[in-house]
Structure formats: structure tokens, C-alpha cells
């Protein structure tokens, strides 16, 4: 059994949150630079330039890239041979989240669904974090983190299709989602598509797909091909950066596919804006 101190997890979580808020990860930055090179619309190109400048200011002056510093979302894999000492893993992640958001001068964006009362003074500053926890082999804790803004989350959707819908039905559904969203989710986008499983499995897969590095190739050749195909379809929509019209609407499409029930074809589309603040660490 390897022992990992509660405090060590708190500190690690705090640090990745503060860092991610003002430093766009390398993969996202590269994708934005490529989009700037390839964009045909002068208006969108100008806005992309502004966004690259923003990324520069954010990292050099340690300011948040975007005022929507998101809800904190974690996919955590804890090795079966790890024992967290001094407290519970979930509590450590929440404590690290609160510390990161307070000490990084980030925004507290969690609230009650109906009264809309901010939870910063009751539950905690930007708490609770959204935590997906898995037990795996080994003696390490792997933490994938993303700050998920509201603008792109709001246009996400899920549906269970009959099997006959097939690939064509899935592609049409993703297209409709991105087309309807237009400028609202702050394109250029990363589009996470969860296919198969049960209803909730598809949704979680579409979220997890957004944590993959932009520019990486899907391990499943059939899905890799489908990703390229969907990206082409989406870029023909002409939405462009911030909806100003243009050729670069989508930076990447990431698919996670799962076995599903003989009667159903669940599909979920989770949208990520250009401010793709994601990172991972292993403790």
C-alpha cells in the first residue's frame, strides 16, 4: 500500500487550477495558431489574433484567460494500492478546488438551480467540484482536470436514437447541434461526442472526450476516420471565430465509443469553447 497525504492532493489540485486559469495548454494554443494561419475570413482572423494576444497577456500577467473560470471538473483514477491518509480523496479535491479558486482570484460560479443563490459562502467557493472517480490498478492517483465554462456547456445535448439511425444519424445530430449553437459557445470549438453505452455513459464519454489532447489521433481507426469526417462537415457550416463567419469553426472532434444495448444508440455532444483549459497530473 502506498500512502499519499491528503494535503499533497490538496496542494496539487490547487496548483493545477491556478495555472490552468491563465495558461492555455500547448495543444489548444497550437490549434488556435493553426486556425489563425488557415482562416480565410479576415474578420475571424482578426478575432483569432485578439484571442492569441489574450492568451499571451493571460500567461505573462497571470490573469484568467476568461472571466468564466468554469466549474471544476475532474476525472480521477485512483490505484487500488493507494491509501489516502489524513482525509478523504473527494474532500481533498474539493478543498484544493476552493483554495485554487480563492487564491487565484477566479470566479465563484456555482449556484442553486432555482433561487440562483451563489454557493460561495454556504457550500464553498466554486464548490462542489464535479468529480468522476474510478478505481484502477496500481499505486498512483491520476487526475484529469478541466475548467468548464457555461457558454459551451449550454449548447450541449444528448439523445437516444433507434439503432437504424446509424452513423449518418449521429453525424446529422452533431451537425444540427453545432449549427444551432452558432456563435454562442465561443468557437472555434472542440466537439466531444459520446456514442453508445447507456444514456449517462454516452454523456460522460462525451465530456471525457474533451480532455484528450487536440491533435491526437483516436486509437480506434474507425472512430479516427469518423472524427475527420465530422470535422469537415462542421467546418462547412461557415460559423467561424465567435460566429463572425469563417472556415475554422471546429479545432477538433473527439469521439468516445462504447458497446451499447441491442435496442438503442445513445449519442451525446459536449461542446468545448476555444478556451480549452484542461490538464492532467499523476501523483
Amino acid at each position: 500500500m502506498r500512502e499519499i497525504a491528503y494535503e499533497e492532493i490538496v496542494k496539487n489540485v490547487r496548483d493545477i487550477i491556478v495555472y490552468s486559469a491563465s495558461n492555455l495548454p500547448e495543444d489548444a494554443l497550437q490549434a488556435m495558431k493553426d486556425a489563425y494561419e488557415n482562416e480565410k475570413s479576415p474578420v475571424s482572423k482578426e478575432v483569432l489574433k485578439q484571442l492569441l494576444e489574450n492568451a499571451d497577456i493571460a500567461s505573462s500577467e497571470a490573469r484568467p484567460l476568461c472571466q468564466d473560470t468554469g466549474l471544476a471538473v475532474f476525472f480521477v483514477k485512483i490505484g487500488a494500492d493507494v491509501k489516502v491518509v489524513g482525509g478523504l480523496l473527494k474532500d481533498a479535491i474539493n478543498e484544493g478546488t476552493e483554495k485554487g479558486y480563492v487564491e487565484g482570484y477566479l470566479r465563484a460560479s456555482t449556484c442553486e438551480p432555482f433561487s440562483r443563490a451563489n454557493l460561495k459562502d454556504t457550500v464553498g467557493y466554486n464548490l462542489p467540484a464535479i468529480i468522476h472517480l474510478y478505481i484502477v490498478e496500481g499505486d498512483k492517483i491520476a487526475i484529469e482536470y478541466a475548467a468548464k465554462g457555461g457558454g459551451s456547456e449550454n449548447v450541449s445535448r444528448a439523445r437516444v436514437f433507434p439503432p437504424a439511425a446509424g452513423k449518418a444519424g449521429v453525424i446529422e445530430y452533431v451537425k444540427e447541434c453545432i449549427s444551432d449553437a452558432g456563435p454562442n459557445p465561443c468557437p472555434p470549438l472542440t466537439v466531444g461526442v459520446g456514442i453508445g453505452g447507456t444514456f449517462e455513459k454516452a454523456v460522460i464519454s462525451s465530456k471525457h472526450a474533451l480532455f484528450r489532447n487536440i491533435g491526437s489521433v483516436n486509437e480506434d481507426p474507425e472512430m479516427a476516420e469518423m472524427e475527420v469526417e465530422i470535422k469537415e462537415v462542421l467546418n462547412k457550416l461557415g460559423i467561424g471565430t465567435m460566429g463572425m463567419g469563417g472556415t475554422e469553426t471546429v479545432l477538433a472532434v473527439h469521439i468516445e465509443s462504447n458497446p451499447c444495448h441491442i435496442a438503442s444508440l445513445p449519442v451525446s455532444v459536449n461542446v468545448q469553447c476555444h478556451s480549452s483549459r484542461h490538464t492532467h497530473i499523476t501523483i
Partner: protein, 185 residues
């Protein structure tokens, strides 16, 4: 062709009438922040026949919920939020004399109709450019609803704050114009 203007608030009918969708405007002077929760309270005040916490005639409202300022800064990162959440409130404020709104994303027909009827414009600021836009804000003061935290109404002084005209007073929409130029059917 898109033109570039420098304008100082409050805006007049003449100011907004010369703008066309796609024009770039650098705003100077005072603007006010409000998001959904604050909008609801503003409209409730109007319904009750009470006075608003600021003079809406010629005013520009920025849909933003900034991050907290670091010590010594007037404000943190401050880019626009998605505007459709204000669609049910904006027409009422436009009828009262509001001349400009700054946000990101589409507006509904009620808002664009009100823009045409009462002469007002909807500006887009670059979503996700919070660090860059925050630097154009030289002072910030909460003037109402402090308990709403990031959603409180703030009075901002801005210098050359960069925005683009999305919906003008003539019923044009930059999102539609821009997209139709690049859409491959």
C-alpha cells in the same frame, strides 16, 4: 465595408444610426454591467414605477460577470457572457432609452425589433478574451446589488474598449451575413 469608429458614452440616436453591422467601435466613457439576475431586478423596478440605479438614457450595458480583481487592479478578467439570457429583459430597457448592449451570441427577434424601433445597437465583444478586455477597464465600482457577487451592477470607465456591431438599427445581423459568406451547402 466595415468602418471603424471611436465613440464616447452616453450614445445618441445619431451615434447609433451611423453604425452598420460589421463596423468596429472603440468605446470610451462610462458603461454599466448587468447579467440575468440584475436585469430581472432592473425590470422589476420599472414595473413598480421606481427609479433605476443608473440613468438608462443613452447608456450602454455590458453583459459580464468579471473575476475578482487582484490587489491593485480595478477589475479582473472581464469578457462578455452569452446574451440570449437577457433577451426577455432588453426590449424593456431599450424602450426606456438604452442605446447599446455588449455581449456575445445571438439575440432574438424581440430584441432586434426593439433595436430598429427605438434605435439601439447590439455589440459583440470577443468571448474568452477576458484578460485583454479587462485591461481596457480603468475603474469599476459596484453601484447596486452587491450581494449578487459577480452579477452585481457595476459602473465601469472604459478606454478604447473594442467591440463589433452585430445588430444595427436597420435590422442587419453580422452573424447571418458572416456565416452566409462561408457556408458550403
Amino acid at each position: 465595408m466595415s468602418k471603424t469608429y471611436h465613440l464616447t458614452t452616453p450614445l445618441s440616436d445619431e451615434d447609433v444610426s451611423m453604425l452598420n453591422s460589421g463596423d468596429i467601435v472603440y468605446l470610451n466613457g462610462t458603461i454599466y454591467t448587468a447579467r440575468d439576475a440584475a436585469h430581472k431586478r432592473l425590470v422589476d423596478l420599472l414595473d413598480a414605477g421606481k427609479e433605476l440605479p443608473f440613468d438608462v438614457k443613452g447608456a450602454v450595458i455590458y453583459f459580464v460577470g468579471p473575476t475578482p480583481p487582484k490587489p491593485g487592479d480595478p477589475i479582473g478578467s472581464a469578457g462578455p457572457t452569452t446574451s440570449y439570457r437577457m433577451d426577455s429583459y432588453s426590449p424593456r430597457l431599450i424602450a426606456e432609452g438604452l442605446k447599446g448592449m455588449i455581449g456575445k451570441g445571438k439575440r432574438n427577434k424581440d430584441v432586434t425589433d426593439a433595436c430598429q424601433k427605438h434605435k439601439a445597437v447590439y455589440f459583440g465583444a470577443t468571448g474568452g478574451a477576458g484578460a485583454l478586455l479587462g485591461k481596457q477597464i480603468k475603474s469599476a465600482e459596484v453601484i447596486a446589488y452587491e450581494e449578487l457577487g459577480p452579477e452585481a451592477v457595476r459602473k465601469l470607465e472604459v478606454v478604447d474598449f473594442p467591440v463589433t456591431v452585430i445588430n444595427d438599427t436597420y435590422g442587419e445581423d453580422l452573424y447571418k451575413i458572416g456565416r452566409s459568406q462561408y457556408e458550403v451547402k
